[in-house]
């Protein structure tokens, strides 16, 4: 589908933008930013380079060359636990859909970055905090399986508060399901890349986020297994501000690099280039054998 049509079809996205306030204050430096300018700058503050959380559609638009072939968009959430607390789970889902313009916390599909075709999954924190339930697990598993079948690299941008409580153990099992698919992708020889964006925690960080061949993170993203509040309550002391930031993880050797948003596309292009070079070597060796 042509990108323009895909975006039009992309859930009342325009409406969401019309309703939104046109001015935003940078939470880091306090600068008041005009939203269209901010969007044009990849949701990065022009003054202090603070990285705002990005919507999945905008992310895809910022990376993909031409068209984006979305897959698994018909997979939508059910309510397996008939969950109700203050609101029912379907009510929570509907409220988040209206607010975010998303119908679930991930978009998956195929496209090209700098001429390199790949499978791309992008999580969106604006829908249920990016939590992984059955739909996130199913859409991503279909993406990873399709990448394996088509013989393409796979990249996933993570943004998640972890497993989705309202789907109970079925949510936890998505960690197992996506893992099994990742193992097959890697065994097929295709590269698996992740870009960890703010925040990436819990069941997502403890599964595919940290199973990639190359793991990048966006500047200042909060990344960890246990949430900051949980740790502080357990140890009864305040954690240093830098704890669990992308930069902290880089120092500790957990990730390959911290990348500023404008550099992401060129960085991914180079990585995909190395991967293709390796695949071509393999093919040459097979031919000469």
């Amino acid at each position: 589908m042509p990108m323009a049509d895909w975006l039009r079809g992309g859930r009342n996205r325009e409406k969401v933008r019309d309703d939104a306030a046109q001015w935003v204050k940078c939470p880091s430096c306090g600068e008041v930013l005009y939203r269209p300018d901010l969007s044009a700058n990849l949701d990065v503050c022009v003054r202090c380079s603070h990285h705002f959380r990005m919507h999945a559609h905008d992310r895809i638009l910022s990376l993909i060359d031409g068209d984006f072939e979305e897959i698994a968009r018909g997979i939508l959430p059910a309510d397996p636990l008939s969950w109700t607390d203050k609101k029912s789970y379907p009510q929570k889902l509907a409220a988040d859909a209206a607010k975010s313009g998303m119908d679930e916390a991930v978009l998956c599909g195929f496209g090209s970055i700098g001429g390199y075709e790949l499978a791309l999954g992008v999580m969106d924190f604006h829908f249920r905090g990016g939590t992984m339930g059955s739909v996130v697990g199913e859409r991503l598993t279909r993406l990873i399986e399709a990448a394996t079948e088509r013989g393409l690299p796979c990249a996933i941008f993570t943004a998640s508060g972890g497993a989705r409580m309202e789907e109970g153990m079925l949510a936890l099992m998505q960690m197992a399901k996506t893992t099994a698919a990742v193992v097959r992708l890697k065994a097929s020889g295709q590269p698996f890349l992740t870009v960890l964006t703010d925040p990436t925690t819990g069941g997502v960080s403890a599964s595919f986020a940290f199973q990639a061949d190359v793991i990048l993170a966006e500047r200042n993203a909060m990344i960890g297994f246990a949430g900051r509040r949980v740790i502080e309550q357990t140890i009864r002391q305040r954690l240093p501000d830098r704890f669990q930031t992308a930069e902290f993880l880089l120092e500790r050797g957990h990730i390959d690099g911290v990348v500023d948003r404008p550099n992401l596309k060129p960085t991914l292009e180079r990585l995909l280039g190395y991967a293709r070079a390796g695949m071509q070597r393999r093919k040459r060796a097979e031919l000469s054998a």
């Binding site: 409580m165 936890l172 399901k177 065994a187 403890a206 246990a226 740790i231």
Partner: protein, 324 residues
């Protein structure tokens, strides 16, 4: 608050009276065996009443009962066990134990999460909450099972992975993620038994298996009820409410296809007859290993993939018109 204590009060009272009558009976000429028998039948009735209808929150407390058999209890029942230690990198995490073992005709590798049975032991074993070193040890032993071509048996009993500063600094996420990868594709038969509490990713790290068995009053949950209540409502004290929502009991999970078999417990729970529970669980492990040994490895690996591939609940809004 432990809701079990309240419900067990009547039982403990009856137990005391039966005991009193018995000791009185011994030294006396009056035969009180009829009274004793009547009280005993009352006791069994009450036991069935109390433990036949436990709420999910009460089951959480059954699963955490200090006298409930732990991994080492089951290991003690094995025919042989040679413990192996350490992650080869940093330390030996006492919250995970494992090693070579024999069970009947099977040589296996056994790995389990080990909580303490009292405060002192709990402090030593970090309440059964593994650090990354524990998961790396588990991963190493799982790969050892593959290397020696032996079936792998795991025992799950943890509130969850350790939520501490050092665990984060040592990459808890990576440790669990890597363990999941190893278990998903391990080229030997794998069997997991949830014997107590299965909490979150910290439990799942040892729980991807060809067959997952679960004791009747064990629980297995996406997050501990306290954690879930804190995440959703910012109030860990609403754990009982969260437990009611989470569908964390063995029968719930059997219904979802997440658990393959529920192992019944003695009336009143595993802790009332630990020896019988251990025997029953080890019998089932032996029988399931016999079954798993009858499949070829490719069939086993495909079935394992498909089993997890199916899990989830969603609707396909485009399925009817054939669109992708």
């Amino acid at each position: 608050m432990n809701p079990l204590l309240e419900r067990e009060k009547g039982l403990l009272e009856l137990e005391r009276r039966i005991e009193d009558l018995r000791s009185a009976n011994e030294g006396q000429r009056i035969d009180m065996s009829a009274e004793i028998a009547s009280l005993e039948s009352k006791y069994r009735q009450l036991l069935a009443e109390v433990f036949g209808s436990l709420s999910p929150w009460e089951k959480v407390h059954m699963a955490r009962h200090p006298r409930r058999p732990t991994t080492l209890g089951y290991i003690a029942g094995l025919d042989a066990f040679d413990e192996l230690h350490g992650d080869r990198m940093f330390r030996d995490d006492p919250a995970i134990v494992g090693g070579f073992a024999r069970l009947g005709g099977h040589s296996i590798v056994a790995i389990g999460q080990q909580r303490g049975r009292d405060m002192k032991e709990n402090l030593a074993r970090n309440f059964g909450m593994s650090t990354p070193e524990g998961y790396r040890k588990g991963e190493r032993l799982a790969l050892l099972a593959q290397r020696f071509n032996l079936p792998l048996v795991t025992f799950v009993d943890t509130k969850g992975a350790d939520p501490g500063i050092l665990s984060e600094e040592h990459a808890q996420s990576e440790a669990i993620a890597a363990s999941l990868e190893v278990f998903a594709a391990l080229r030997v038969p794998t069997l997991c038994v949830v014997i107590g509490e299965g909490g979150s990713g910290g439990a799942l790290a040892l729980a991807i298996a060809d067959r997952v068995l679960m004791l009747e009053h064990s629980v297995y949950s996406v997050a501990s009820p306290e954690g879930c209540a804190a995440i959703l409502w910012g109030d860990a004290s609403k754990a009982d409410e969260a437990a009611a929502h989470l569908k964390l009991t063995a029968s719930d999970l059997r219904g979802f296809g997440i658990v393959d078999e529920v192992i019944p417990e003695p009336l009143g729970g595993a802790h009332r007859d630990a020896a019988a529970t251990v025997t029953r669980v080890l019998d089932r492990i032996g029988a399931v290993l016999d079954l798993l040994e009858s499949f070829s490895l490719p069939d086993l690996l495909n079935a394992r993939y498909e089993k997890y591939r199916r899990l989830g609940s969603w609707r396909d809004s485009l399925a009817t018109d054939g669109a992708p």
